[in-house]
């Protein structure tokens, strides 16, 4: 069973603090994503990783950076968090099968920046 694990599920931080969101997958998928979800805005792409140390900016990378040192782990880092980064963050890994791509999403991290 394909599984993407995100930690933590809930996180409260103060403005200016550093934030580390972690994501793991046990399927050896090469491509992984970080999205944020806000009401009415859908899923906005922050960063993509095509494999270890092969990362690319998405549509809203400002204020974020990522790290992927092992294929199974993909981290999202917020240096000096801002209140407008309060959101639900989803990590996903990508699998291609039968000419269809499936993104397997983690359960999300609800981040509140006070």
């Amino acid at each position: 069973d394909m599984k993407v694990t995100q930690m933590p599920r809930y996180l409260i931080k103060r403005m200016g603090e550093n934030v580390l969101l972690e994501c793991g997958q046990d399927m050896s998928h090469e491509t992984m994503y970080w999205y944020r979800q806000d009401p009415g805005l859908g899923l906005q792409l922050i960063y993509i990783s095509y494999d270890v140390d092969s990362n690319s900016e998405g549509d809203i990378p400002k204020g974020y950076r990522v790290s992927r040192k092992k294929r199974e782990h993909f981290s999202l880092i917020l240096d000096s968090a801002k209140t407008n980064q309060t959101s639900v963050y989803f990590c996903a890994s990508s699998f291609w099968g039968s000419s269809a791509e499936t993104l397997y999403f983690g359960s999300g991290t609800r981040l509140t920046v006070l």
């Binding site: 009415g40 993509i48 990508s94 499936t102």
Partner: protein, 113 residues
């Protein structure tokens, strides 16, 4: 920068009716168009997808209609059920070595019985 536009923002239909959700795009390099659904409190999950070589893809009660010339695609949910109530996201994927999947803003579907 919204590359995939989705409408309506919300939709209410009666049980048994066909729900129609619409999307459009601008980038001609998109080569794959999935729909995801998300139930309250859950993560998005793949529902159905289509490639531009086809203009229709069916999976049970769910059908994608694709119009490459007009750069539009839609999801039709036939015989809608209350259990179909969820938020539906269309998406589009660029091809090549730096492919990425971009989502629309979503349509919140409510099916009333």
């Amino acid at each position: 920068q919204q590359q995939v536009r989705q409408s309506p923002q919300s939709l209410t239909v009666w049980e048994g009716e066909t729900a129609i959700l619409n999307c459009s795009y601008e980038d001609s390099t998109f080569d794959y168009f999935p729909w995801y659904h998300q139930f309250p409190g859950e993560s998005p999950a793949l529902l159905i997808a289509i490639r531009p070589v086809s203009n229709k893809k069916e999976d049970g009660r769910f059908t994608i209609f694709f119009n490459k010339r007009e750069k539009k695609f839609s999801l039709h949910i036939a015989d809608s059920q209350p259990g179909d109530s969820a938020t539906y996201f269309c998406a589009a994927r660029t091809g090549g070595s730096n492919a990425k999947l971009t989502f629309g803003k979503g349509t919140k579907l409510s099916v009333k019985s």
